[in-house]
């Protein structure tokens, strides 16, 4: 379950998180066209995700329907934690501070987060 999902694999997961279950064909059609992947590539990635138990498949006639086993939420929180631990000693504040310093935060970001934090304390 904890097999680290690669970048390419992640693109496939996004499709299945958006909608599932799907056939390999469906997934191939929905993957970000930016990638320009062949159907075969997508099938390979589905196979690797199966091996990692990040997804499961069930037979539907002569093909499979794929669906995620790992929740998107778990994935994004895990990845976020990894980054924050690796780069900011596990604390979120320096991340926000760095982005702010670089003007990577919009006024909207700032008020959204403020509102969110206020909510949290309530």
């Amino acid at each position: 379950m904890a097999e680290r999902i690669s970048d390419a694999e992640h693109a496939v997961m996004e499709v299945l998180w958006e909608e599932a279950p799907l056939t390999a064909q469906d997934v191939a059609e929905r993957v970000d066209p930016e990638r320009g992947w062949s159907t075969n590539t997508v099938k390979t990635l589905l196979g690797r995700l199966l091996a990692k138990s990040a997804i499961a498949h069930e037979e539907q006639g002569r093909r499979y329907l794929y669906r995620p086993l790992v929740a998107r939420d778990d994935y994004v929180v895990g990845e976020s934690r990894r980054l924050i631990d690796r780069l900011f000693g596990g604390r979120l504040t320096p991340l926000v501070a760095h982005l702010a310093e670089r003007d990577e935060l919009t006024a909207q970001d700032i008020s959204e987060i403020e509102a969110l934090l206020k909510e949290l304390k309530a």
Copy 2:
């Protein structure tokens, strides 16, 4: 310059960001002992970082002194942006929201960030 620094390489960069210039030996001694790396491993990584132009070296007698070319700030902001773009559509708020939802934020985090944001608006 934009050659993506790997995880192992990053551990070496951290040493040089902390103190530079240093000899390969110095770096090897300072790398997180958790890694349990041989001196050779560290030298390989220094070589790769040189090839990626992430660091530079100047001769000092019969050995080199290594120093970072990439600033830590640029690195962390770049990595953070990548994650946020990849997982949260480029917006910081969902990251904070996800962590909050999972109780990954301490009360201290929350007040720190609030203070920081208030500062930003000033």
